[in-house]
Symmetry: D3
Subunit: 245 residues, 6 copies
C-alpha cells in the first residue's frame, strides 16, 4: 500500500500555458489529495502562442520566453506543482534522441502514478501531437530494463490526453470526466496568470461548465452529486480494476 505522500504525477505540456487551460483542475485536485505533481513544458510557446506579446512591439524572442516562463511559474505555484522547462522551441517543436532521453529520465526520477499530456491528433497544431508522442515514447523507454541498466524502471502509469482546443476536429473523445468543482478557484486563478491569452480565459471557463453538465448527465440527473466544473480526458490504455461500479 503506497502512502499518499509518495504519490506522484507527471504533466507534459507542449507550450508553457497548455497545462493550465487543459489540466489545471487535475493538477490542483491531486495536489489537494496529497500528490506531488510535476510539470514539464517542452517549449514556451514563444512563436506560436504569444501573439499578444509580439503585438506590443520591441520584443525579442528572449523577452517573450522570459515573460512566458514567469507566467507559467506563477500558474504552477498557484496549482501547487513543480515545473521545469526544456526550451525545445516551438512552431515547430522538434525533439531529437537526447530530448527523448531527457524526458525518459524525468519519468525515472518522478516515478509517476499517472501522466497527462496532449491528444494524438490536432490539425491546428502540430506541436501538440508531437508532445504527446514524445511523452508516450519516453514512458516506454523509462520502462525498459536495458535503458540505463541498474536504475529503477517505472511501472505502467496510465496516460490521459487532455482536451484540445477543437475537440471533434482532433478526434478526441473523452472517456473520463474529472470533477474539479472543489479546486475551480485555483484553476481560474492560474488561468489569470496567462496575461497574453486573455481571450482564452472565458473559453476554458465555459469548457469546464459544459463538461460539468455532461458529467452530471453521466452520473444521473437524479443523483445528489453536485458538479459545477469538470475536465475531460481520453485514456490511452485500458485500466485494470476489481470494481466496475
Amino acid at each position: 500500500m503506497v502512502n499518499n505522500a509518495e504519490k506522484n504525477a507527471l504533466v507534459v505540456s507542449a507550450h508553457s500555458a497548455d497545462f493550465v487551460w487543459r489540466a489545471g483542475g487535475a493538477i490542483a485536485l491531486h495536489v489537494a489529495r496529497g500528490y506531488q505533481v510535476h510539470v514539464v513544458c517542452l517549449s514556451f510557446g514563444e512563436r506560436g502562442e504569444s501573439a499578444k506579446l509580439w503585438r506590443r512591439g520591441n520584443m525579442s524572442e528572449e523577452d517573450v520566453k522570459l515573460t512566458r516562463r514567469a507566467e507559467a511559474q506563477a500558474a504552477a505555484e498557484i496549482l501547487g506543482a513543480s515545473i521545469e522547462f526544456f526550451d525545445l522551441g516551438d512552431y515547430p517543436l522538434y525533439a531529437d534522441k537526447e530530448d527523448l532521453f531527457r524526458l525518459a529520465d524525468v519519468f525515472r526520477r518522478v516515478q509517476p502514478h499517472f501522466v497527462l499530456t496532449h491528444s494524438v491528433s490536432d490539425p491546428y497544431n502540430y506541436d501538440h501531437p508531437r508532445a504527446s508522442n514524445l511523452t508516450q515514447e519516453a514512458r516506454i523507454i523509462a520502462q525498459a530494463e536495458g535503458y540505463r541498466p541498474g536504475e529503477a524502471i517505472i511501472g505502467a502509469p496510465p496516460v490521459y490526453c487532455f482536451e484540445p482546443h477543437q475537440s471533434e476536429q482532433c478526434l478526441w473523445k473523452p472517456d473520463v470526466l474529472l470533477d474539479i468543482t472543489t479546486v475551480w478557484d485555483k484553476k481560474y486563478a492560474a488561468i489569470q496568470c496567462m496575461e497574453g491569452q486573455e481571450h482564452l480565459w472565458e473559453y476554458y471557463t465555459r469548457a469546464a461548465l459544459q463538461r460539468a453538465v455532461q458529467a452530471k448527465r453521466n452520473v444521473g440527473i437524479a443523483s445528489a452529486h453536485v458538479i459545477s466544473y469538470a475536465e475531460g480526458y481520453q485514456s490511452l490504455f485500458p485500466r485494470v480494476t476489481e470494481d466496475l461500479s
Copy 2:
C-alpha cells in the same frame, strides 16, 4: 454513502450461456463484494447455440430450451446471481415494444449500479448487437420521468460490453481489464454447467489467461500485483471520477 448490501448490478445476455463465458468473473467478483447481481437471458439460444443438443436427436425445441434453462440456472447459482428468462426466441432474436418495456421495468426494479451486456457489433451473430441495443434503449427509457410517471427512475449506470467471440472482427476494444483471479474457480465451475458447448470451456479459459497477461502489462511488469485471470470490457460512456490514479 451507500451500503454494499444495497448495491446491484444487471447483466443482459442474448442467449442463456453468454453471461457465463463473457461475464462470469465479473458476476462472482461483485457478488463476493456484496452486490446483488441479476441476470436476464433474452433467449435460451435454443436454435443457434445448442448444436450438440440437437445432434443427440429426438429433441424438440421445448426439450432444448428446458436443458438450456437448467444449465443457466445452475451456472447462475454457482456465481451467486439471480436469473430470469424472457424467452424471446433466437436466430433471430426479435424484440417488440412490449419486450423493451419489460426490460425497462427490470431496470426500474433492479436499480443497477452498473450494467453488462454484448458488444454493439458482431458480424457472426446478429442477436448479440440486438441484445446490446435493447439493453441500452431500455436503460434510457427507465431514466425517463414520463415513462410510468410516479415510479422511481434510474440514474445513469455505466454500461460495459463484454468480450465477443472474435474480438477484432466485432470492433470491440477493451478499456477495462477486470482482475478475476480470486473468483476464477467459481467461473470455471459455472462454465462446466454448459455441457452442450464443451468446445468453448478451454477457449474461454485461455481468453482469461491472455487478458490476465495483458492486465499485468497495463499495471507494469514491476508491480507486485499478481493477476492470473481477467476479463475485458469496453465501456460505452465516460466515467465520472475525482481520481486519475
Copy 3:
C-alpha cells in the same frame, strides 16, 4: 436562377424542442434571407424530455403534450418557421412505413433546398438517430419517380446534422460552422419558450459562444469578421460547387 422568395428548407426534430436548441440559429438566419422554413416535430418529447413538467404532479400525458406543443409553436413563431407535429410518441420513437411515407410527402410538398436533422449516432438517445434515419430515407423515397408516379420529385438537397448534446460521444464532427450572430437574439428568445428545460438555456448559449470562437479560428484571427455566436453542422453528402474559397 431561383428567386429567394421561393427557397425552402426542412427541419426534422425528434422531440418538440430539439429544433430550437440545435438549429434555431439556422432557421432564423435563413428566414431572414428569405427562405420559408418548415419544421416537423416527430414527437412532443412527452416522456423523455419533459421531466420538469412531470414533477409538477397531476399531469397526464395529454397535458404534457399540449404544453410542449404550445412551447414549440411559440418558438417556431419567433424563429419565423411553420411547424407541424407527427405525434409518433417518444421513448421509444418508432415509425412504420406509413410514417415514412407521410414524411416523404412533406419532402415532396416543401421541395427543400436543404435539410436539417439529428446526428446518426447518439448513445444517450435512441430517438435521435431514428429521426435522422427516417429523414434520410424519406428524402430518398421522395426522389424516386416510382413513388406516387406523376408527382414532382425532389432534387438532392444537402442534409446537415445538427449538434447533439455530447458531441464527441455521438461521433459527430462539424464540418460547417454557421455564423448566427445577427439572429442570436431571436434564437435566445425562442430558447426561452422552453420553460420545462431551463437548465439547458445556458448550456446552449455557451455552446453557441464556443462554436463562435472556433469559427473565428477557422477564418483566421487576423480577419475583420466578427463572430459572436455560431452553430455547428455535419454534412452527410459532398457539396457540389465551382468555388473553393
Copy 4:
C-alpha cells in the same frame, strides 16, 4: 476435394439490376470456372430505379415490374446464372421474419461456396444495406443446427460486398480486385439488357477500367499479367488459407 461441377455461389441483389452492374463479372467468371451461380433479387427496383420507365407514361407498377423482371432474366441468362425474385417491394425494401427464413432456405438449398451482396452502408440508398444485413443474417440462421433441425446446415462461406455507386461515401474499401478481363464481353452484354438505365452503362464500364488499372498496380507494373477489366469487393470475414503469396 470438391468437384468443380458441385461448386455453387449465391448473389443477393436488392433491386433487379444491381447484380449486373456490381457483380456481373464475378458471376460470368465463376460460371466459366464451373460454378452454379444463383441470383436472388429481393425487389425489382420498381419504384426507385426505374425512372426512365416511369417517364414513358401510362405505366402501372405491375408493368414496370414485368419489364424489370424480363431485363434481369435476360441478363442472368447471358451471365449463365439462375435467378429468382422475392418481390419484397423497394423504396423501402422491408423484410419480415418470413422473408428472412425464405432467404435462409435458399442458403440451405444452394449451399454456396461464397456469397456476393451489397455494402453495409450507403447513405444514398437504404435498401442496399438492408439487403446486405438480410443476407448476412440469413447466412447465420442457415448455419444453425436448431433452425429446421435435421436439414443439412451450411458452412461458413465468405461474403463479399460488391461496389456501391459512390464507394467512398459508403465507407466501402475493396480488399479484393477480381480480374474479369476474360468475361467482360458477357458482362457488357448483360449490362445492355438494362434498357431503363442506359446512363449507367458507361459509368460501370469506366469503373471496370479503373479497377483494372488498380489491380495492375497491385500485382506490380513489371508483371506480365494483362488486366483490362476488374471488379472490386470488400470481404466481411477473414479468409483461412495456407498460402500467403
Copy 5:
C-alpha cells in the same frame, strides 16, 4: 470586399506532375475566375514517377529532372498558374526545418485564399502524405506572429486534399465535388504535357467523368445543371458560412 484580382491560391505538389492530374481543373477554373494560382513542386518525381524516361536509357538523374521540369512548366502555363520547384528529392521526399520555413515563407508571400495538396494517407506513396503534412505545418507556422515577427501573417485558408490514385486505400473521402466542365479542355491539354506518363491520361479522364456523374447525383438528377467533368476534394477544416443551401 476583396477584389477578385487580389485573390490567390496555393497548390503544393509532391512530384512535378501531381498538380496536373489531381488539381488541374481547380487551377484552371480559379484562374478563369480571376485568381492568381501558385504551384510549388517539392520534387520532380525523378526517381519514382519517371519510369518511362528511365527506360529510354542513357538518362542521368539530372536529365530526368530537366525533362520533368519542362513538362511541369508547360502544364502550369496552360493552366495559367505560376510555378516553382523546391527540388527536395523524391523516394524518399524528406524535408528538414529549413524546407519547412521555405514553404512557410511561400505562404506568407502568396497569402492564399485556399490551399490544395495531397491526402494525409497513402500506402502506395509515402511522399504524398509527407507533402500534405509539410504543407499543413507550413501553414500553421505562417499563421504565427512569432515567426519572423513583423511580417504579415496569413489567415486560416481552407485546405483541400486532392484525389489520390486509389482513393479508398488512402481513406480519402471527398466532401467537395468541383465542377470543372468549363475548363476541361485546358486540363486535358495540360495532362498531355506529361509525356512520360501516358498511361495515366485516360485514367484521370475517366476519373473526371466518374466524379461528374457523382456530382450530378448530388445536385439531383432533376436539376438542369449539366456537369461533364469534376474533381473531388476532401477538406481538412470546417468551413464558416452564413448559407447552407
Copy 6:
C-alpha cells in the same frame, strides 16, 4: 509460371525475437512449401526486450546483443530461414535514409513474393510501427525505376502485418488466418530458443490455439478441415485474384 524453388519471402522484425512469436508459423510453412524465406532483424531488442538478461547482472549491452543474436540465429535455423541483422538500436529504433536504402536493397536482392512485418499502430511499442513504416517505404523505393537505375525493380508483393501483443489496442484486425498446424512443432521449437522471454512461450501458444478456433469458425464448424494452430495477419493491400471461393 514461376517454379516453387524460386519463390521468396521477406520478414522484417523490429527486434530479434518478433519474427518468432508473430510469424514463425508462416515462415516454417512456406519453407515447407519450397520458399526461401529471409529475415531482417532491425535491432536485437537489447534494451527493451531483454529484461531477463539484464537482471542477470554483469551484462554489457554488447553481451546482451550477442546472446540475442545467437537465439535469433538458432530460431531462424529451426524455421529454415536465412537471417541478417541491421543493428540499428532499439528503444528507440531510429532509421535514417541510408538504413532505408539498405532495406530497399534487400528487397531488390530478395525479390519477395510476399512480405511480413509489424502492425502500423502500437501504443505499447513505438519501434514496431517504425519497423512497419520503414518496410513499407523500402518496398516502394525498390519498385522505383529511378532508384539505382538499371537494377531489376521489384513487383508489388503483398504486405501482411503480423499479430501485435495486444491486438485490439493496436487497431489490428486480422483478415487472414493462416493454418500452421503442420509446422507447429517447428514454431514451438523456435520459440524455445528465446530463453530470455520464457513468460511469452505460453502466451503465444495460447494465441495460436485461439486463432485456430477462429479459423475453424471461419471455414465452418461442419467442415472436415482440422485446424489446431493458426496465425492471424492483416493485409495492407487488396489482393488480385480470379477466384472468390
